[in-house]
Symmetry: C2
Subunit: 420 residues, 2 copies
């Protein structure tokens, strides 16, 4: 696998700087640098070194030409928006770019009237205000959140080649989540010994509700009122949401208003009409909570084009709802051969990990893939393995390997259809 | 040290929920929940569960009542603004709240015209465009950035008791910084064997320039074009800055336009008129680059007030420019006795670490302190030790222990003056 071998020895200047324009990606330049016509704005003609710049401000903003945006779905009204994975690097998602998925829109909830009721099979049914929650010992952690339907467009054999990572897998974001461990609240109210499940219900118009095993509530679940240092954003459940590290997005109930302790799952609408995986034999895989190991290359990807051959860094994200990522392999020949990518520190459990891999493009057609392994030993499956196991009717947990084609022109497209 | 001991066994509901209001902090509620008159806005009177919420959007925003803000300095025009440390929890600083310190304001630099010249004692003087920089293998890391003058108001014996953590130490922020290792660029241009220093110069109106030992450039220095996943913000050096993990802020030259390789420090204006530490004997401590271990309690702090006695979580930040934090101790009796705080994972080198410590306030006057130790064994000094070693004329690297007084009323004030 010559093309995916890392370079040996000192980097060659000639290999890196073969373009006079220095353009990394035609698509990138087109959308990011040219979208705003800088010449038409009131830009001082002077050299910035010759005039004082603007003074400090209370709140910063992006540079005029930088316009990363979420992508709301095409349906009207839309019920989701996607993070621009192909425009981000590192692991953090800025809060205003965190993906959305709502079942009844974003409710407006006043924090001073917020209440969380915890009741059911407990000794002391209790209403907690936001101030009550904030007073408890807190914890914050970096963790991904992913919609269980993320990437389900790729379960078909023919997704559009002109799909960006945002369109394919943009229902994925990473934040530092802050809150009180749910286990603390459960100890406060005194859970009865025969209890085994929880019902978590949101305060939105959908009254979204999910059944959660008590064991998860006692493990690493948070009632989260903070995100990336500040208050949780309205679209993410302000003032407080359930956060279940590694578990499918909809179980992380937003605008959390009620937790009922019980001894069985409640079988709510969202776990019967939705969020089950139909299998080929007519049965369904239900309560498939954990998001299995997955990865996607975010560069090169559509809409980018490689302007010339030579060394390029393949960049992507890998994550697992079951713990740490231990390995990411990259193939440049459609899966015939694989090489280990570099995992960038910190590699945190139930958090996205950035992987990077040096690849020398020789100018011929190439099929780029990434394959993640997590600490349980689970390996991200190929498309035919996943669909073979689940059947054609499944539409959740589409964590199979993603493939990009690099054409001889340098143009990159989503290539799942071509390889199948 | 009875009052600082952690509680034993199961949390007591009675200890936690003694207020009917459940108010955590009078100041917090006053500034965050009441600053916006919600009743005057067009808020639907209906229960949010009975009406559809707003649909997804391209770019999120904060909840109306949440208004964290940087605090620009009082001078006109100001040259800095401070992060609201007392309103944040966790370790990440949202990019629009990252502190600022400029010497000539924020220049407006177009990314398509950006160039970085690397020259001097090199084999191949080279101009790198932004696209060139982006093509090199990248790295991102979570790291703090702190102005060397942060906290210098506390070097006086009488700082105002009504000082917030933002006012005292708000020239500190933490981001995920992304860029190309400077060592990669230096290998590209071929540094001559006798070189030992770099000059880094910014493209702002101040042409801020600092001398940097070549060893740091070959170690963990980055030319950073990304911050928290997206493009570096204009106030932070857009489109690219030098980032020197753990080193005083001004050496992390923003709007980086030139690196000159040499065999001696250049002795620029900013390392003679500023950023040296005068000592008591009339000499000066120059090139004091690394930020020593430091910590500050962010809650309870001014302007908060504890509404009642009982268990409270003391929360704060600790960081060291020399590596990982290994220990944070908390005292509630002005330094007579200390207890180990809990360090929250991940504990990363040259990054802020969140510490948390359960403390039972018995209603009497208390003096809260935190003291950090890093992996080199260095222990954050007390005020008299620091000023004794440096002399009264010093105004940088004020990393001594901070003290808050909790009055019998529950009101919290900055107490350095009282204990001295």
């Amino acid at each position: 696998m010559d093309s995916a071998d890392p370079p040996r020895g000192r980097l060659s200047r000639r290999a890196w700087l073969t373009t006079t324009s220095g353009v990394v990606a035609a698509g990138l330049v087109g959308t990011r640098f040219d979208a705003v016509d800088l010449s038409a704005r009131q830009v001082p003609a002077q050299d910035p070194r010759s005039i004082p710049g603007r003074p400090p401000s209370e709140l910063g903003s992006r540079a005029p030409g930088e316009r990363p945006r979420r992508l709301p779905g095409p349906q009207v009204p839309s019920s989701s928006s996607r993070s621009p994975l192909h425009e981000l690097d590192g692991i953090i998602t800025p809060a205003d770019l965190h993906f959305e998925r709502h079942h009844g829109g974003v409710p407006e909830i006043r924090p001073d009237g917020y209440e969380l009721l915890v009741h059911g099979m407990v000794d002391r049914p209790t209403v907690f205000t936001l101030s009550d929650l904030r007073r408890f010992p807190a914890v914050s952690r970096l963790a991904f959140l992913e919609c269980s339907g993320n990437g389900n467009g790729t379960l078909r054999r023919d997704p559009s080649p002109e799909s960006t990572p945002q369109e394919i897998d943009g229902l994925l974001s990473t934040s530092e989540w802050l809150g009180v461990p749910l286990s603390t609240l459960l100890r406060e109210v005194g859970v009865r010994p025969t209890a085994s499940w929880l019902l978590a219900e949101g305060g939105d118009a959908a009254l979204l509700a999910r059944s959660i095993p008590l064991a998860k509530g006692m493990d690493d679940a948070l009632v989260a009122y903070g995100q990336n240092g500040e208050a949780t954003r309205p679209e993410q459940g302000y003032p407080a949401r359930l956060f279940l590290p590694g578990w499918e997005g909809n179980t992380n109930v937003k605008w959390l208003r009620r937790i009922e302790v019980s001894d069985r799952p409640t079988m709510t609408r969202e776990e019967t009409s939705r969020y089950t995986d139909p299998l080929a034999d007519g049965t369904a895989r239900q309560f498939s909570f954990a998001m299995d190991a997955k990865s996607i290359i975010t560069f090169p990807s559509f809409p980018y084009a490689l302007p010339d051959r030579g060394w390029w860094e393949v960049r992507g994200l890998a994550w697992s709802g079951r713990g740490r990522i231990t390995r990411v392999e990259v193939s440049a020949d459609g899966g015939r051969s694989w090489a280990d990518a570099r995992l960038q520190d910190p590699v945190l459990p139930k958090c996205t990990t950035r992987f990077r891999h040096l690849w020398r493009w020789n100018g011929s057609q190439a099929f780029l893939m990434s394959r993640a392994t997590d600490e349980t030993g689970y390996v991200q499956p190929m498309w035919d393995m996943l669909v073979g196991a689940r059947g054609a009717g499944t539409s959740y947990h589409a964590n199979h390997v993603r493939t990009w084609k690099v054409a001889r022109t340098g143009e990159v497209t989503f290539a799942q259809g071509e390889l199948a």
